[in-house]
């Protein structure tokens, strides 16, 4: 019965979709309809533009054009006439705007300042290195003052170190804690709300859990910073008050509504007849939920976890406030960490516009976008396949 009613409805709406009566007689309407179409494809355009323009700013890093070493070679101030304006601008680390505003005297003065600074600086064996090369970004290196090769992200120092491995580990560590905390909790809640609770409970619990997503992430961050950090420290007695655990738990709270609503949606879309059949052969409600409904909806639960992962790894303000922000290479969740997102948020304002640090931050932004793009796509695809299967649509 349900099936045929749905089919009828679909046929009816397809008839409406194909409706083109009156178009020839009304050119204005035809034009407006084309306009509607153009606005509609703007969503595709926007996703494309995001990728394009974040990548555009990061391009010097990807293509290897950026060079952080050239900036530290000292040129005597009296050689100012030998440099082309472009070289001079790169040497003084100025943006084109700033460069054009300054007269020659100021530029010469800046060169002298740089020369003085160069004399005072202790010679460093790493000065000539271009630290924006991929081998320094991805592999450990024995920097001056370090006895063995290490992974270091330290863009504000004499030798700018851009190794992104500590940031990736920081992001993964907080995300892992978040998932370990929120996945069991929200999937249990989804099973309870969709299968076991009585409808009256469901009516107010579901909106209440979804209300969690209405809490701005900066507020969640403040809560983690002031309340959760103290609470967890009294339980686990660790040293650094802000760490991957605090950030991870707060992050987990933020993604609970995401995982919950998708998992609940998947569990609810399992046809009611499955449960009724299980109950009819004598299983309890819990057995029906655990052995019949959950296996049928498993891809959806998996999709919920993937989408939760994408959300957690991209979250900024919570991690910025609650993780302690020290880029330490450590596997312990009780150490302070620095994630990709909080690095971008904290450092972009100080980076020279168009410089290598700026490009580097856009580069990690591109990586982040890539990771969330793939995880979203996977999650959506799994959900789409599951729903088509459960609703009996072929393909």
């Amino acid at each position: 019965m349900q099936e045929t009613a749905n089919n009828l409805e679909a046929k009816r709406s397809i008839g409406w979709m194909g409706l083109s009566r009156g178009h020839k007689a009304r050119p204005l309407e035809w034009l407006i309809e084309k306009g509607i179409f153009l606005v509609a494809i703007s969503a595709i355009l926007v996703v494309f533009l995001i990728f394009l323009f974040v990548l555009r700013e990061a391009w010097p890093i990807f293509s290897g054009k950026a060079n952080s070493a050239a900036a530290r070679k000292v040129i005597p101030a009296d050689q100012i006439d030998k440099l082309t304006p472009a070289q001079l601008q790169a040497y003084l680390e100025l943006t084109p705007d700033e460069f054009n505003k300054k007269d020659k005297e100021t530029l010469k003065l800046l060169m002298e300042v740089k020369e003085e600074a160069g004399k005072e600086a202790v010679p460093d064996k790493d000065e000539a290195l271009n630290t924006t090369e991929w081998k320094y970004i991805l592999k450990p290196y024995a920097w001056t003052g370090y006895s063995k090769p290490e992974y270091i992200w330290q863009p504000i120092s004499n030798i700018k170190k851009y190794n992104i491995i500590p940031l990736i580990i920081g992001s993964l560590k907080t995300t892992l804690v978040a998932l370990l905390f929120s996945v069991p909790l929200s999937i249990a809640a989804a099973i309870y709300v969709s299968q076991l609770a009585n409808p009256k409970v469901k009516e107010w619990v579901k909106p209440a859990i979804e209300m969690l997503s209405g809490i701005p992430s900066v507020v969640m961050g403040v809560f983690a910073l002031l309340v959760l950090a103290t609470f967890l420290q009294t339980i686990f007695h660790y040293n650094s008050r802000l760490n991957a655990l605090v950030a991870g738990v707060a992050l987990g709270l933020a993604i609970v509504p995401v995982i919950f609503s998708i998992a609940e949606d998947a569990l609810t879309s399992v046809p009611r007849s499955y449960v009724q059949a299980a109950l009819a052969v004598g299983s309890s409600k819990w057995q029906a939920a655990w052995q019949v409904v959950l296996p049928a909806a498993l891809p959806g639960v998996f999709a919920a976890v993937i989408l939760g992962f994408g959300r957690a790894i991209g979250e900024t303000m919570i991690v910025l406030l609650a993780s302690g922000n020290a880029s330490i290479m450590s596997a312990s969740i009780f150490d302070s960490t620095r994630s990709i997102t909080s690095t971008i948020a904290a450092e972009l304002a100080e980076a020279v516009f168009g410089g290598h640090h700026y490009g580097m931050l856009f580069m990690i932004g591109t990586l982040l976008f890539g990771v969330t793009f793939v995880s979203n796509l996977m999650g959506e695809y799994i959900m789409y396949r599951l729903k088509s299967r459960l609703e009996g649509k072929q393909k």
């Binding site: 409406w16 979709m17 009566r21 309407e29 407006i32 309809e33 509607i36 179409f37 606005v39 509609a40 494809i41 969503a43 996703v47 995001i50 323009f53 974040v54 705007d97 069991p184 929200s186 249990a188 809640a189 309870y192 076991l196 619990v205 859990i209 209300m211 969690l212 209405g214 809490i215 701005p216 992430s217 900066v218 507020v219 961050g221 403040v222 809560f223 709270l253 009724q276 109950l279 004598g282 309890s284 409600k285 819990w286 057995q287 790894i313 991209g314 979250e315 900024t316 910025l320 406030l321 971008i344 948020a345 304002a349 516009f353 856009f362 932004g365 969330t372 979203n376 796509l377 999650g379």
Partner: protein
């Protein structure tokens, strides 16, 4: 159907069923009680300093002085950016939703790509939107405008400003408006469309005179949800227009602005004495929560009334 379940109740006591039902129930109520703890914590700690003076007063250059705390400039800044955003996102979102429900065939490849793009847009991290706003709106569009209109002069548009923050947020909240509008357009009976066509109206007339007015509450819900989401976001505006401190309120679209969420972040992360500034931090959080939660609450009410009204019609 639901009453038949009760007749299938087992007579023998099954311990594992009982145990797991209690366990999953406990997980559910744990989540709800954490929400309650967060809200109560903010309410209790925020109320003592929350006053009319706090809401309508400005702040001094020293933002951490407890005696002179006020959030009026931040409320104004947040309202302006959200208002400009609404003007941009609602028309685009509604038109896209109209295309998806009224024109696009649900099985065509293009429709699936548009839907995929919308869903993906909803999952892009907010900090990436911030990078996009900086890379596209400011250094491409803004700098381009400067180049065309003020060649070589001071930069008027190629710098962080309220308009770029609003546009960035508009891109971010586009999926919220599209999804809510689509839902309400789909819930309108096909019979209404057919009746209008039968009376000789064209398809476009039917959409704009019959379908869209019927879907108005849904569109409104979408707009309110988008506002509630955008009002609390900080990451996308970090590089696209927010100011640490401004003596004046913003006067034009290319001014900087102060913001409630960003102010919360400053109070939480850069205070010289966190214990002393805690009360004003909590009051600022309370203001922000009242704004975002208030808007979400209104959206839920509007949606509820809309559903009730529809039930009484059919």
């Amino acid at each position: 159907m639901s009453h038949s379940n009760q007749q299938f109740k087992r007579k023998t006591f099954d311990f594992s069923s009982w145990f797991f039902t209690v366990l999953t129930g406990a997980a559910t109520y744990l989540i709800v009680s954490i929400l309650a703890v967060i809200l109560l914590n903010v309410l209790i700690s925020g109320l003592p300093r929350f006053s009319w003076r706090f809401l309508t007063g400005g702040t001094e250059r020293d933002m951490f002085s407890v005696a002179n705390a006020g959030v009026w400039p931040m409320i104004v800044g947040t309202s302006i950016r959200v208002f400009v955003m609404t003007l941009m996102v609602v028309p685009v979102g509604v038109i896209t939703a109209i295309y998806l429900t009224e024109y696009a065939s649900s099985i065509s490849f293009l429709t699936r790509v548009i839907r995929g793009a919308v869903n993906n847009l909803a999952g892009v991290p907010s900090i990436v939107f911030g990078l996009f706003g900086l890379g596209f709106f400011i250094s491409y569009v803004g700098k381009g405008l400067d180049h065309v209109f003020y060649a070589g002069g001071e930069s008027h548009w190629g710098k962080p400003a309220v308009i770029w923050a609003a546009l960035t947020l508009a891109v971010m909240t586009l999926p919220v408006v599209i999804v809510a509008t689509e839902e309400s357009l789909r819930s309108i009976q096909p019979g209404l469309r057919e009746a209008s066509l039968a009376l000789g109206a064209t398809k476009l007339q039917t959409i704009f005179k019959i379908v869209v007015p019927q879907a108005m509450p849904g569109i409104l819900t979408g707009a309110i949800l988008a506002i509630g989401r955008a009002a609390g976001e900080v990451a996308p505006i970090l590089f696209t227009g927010v100011a640490y401190y401004m003596a004046d309120l913003p006067h034009s679209l290319n001014d900087l602005f102060m913001d409630l969420g960003f102010h919360t972040f400053i109070l939480a992360s850069q205070s010289p004495n966190i214990e002393q500034t805690k009360p004003i931090l909590y009051s600022t959080v309370l203001t922000l929560l009242l704004l975002t939660f208030g808007l979400n609450f209104i959206a839920v009410l509007v949606r509820g009334r809309m559903r009730a009204a529809r039930r009484s019609v059919h």
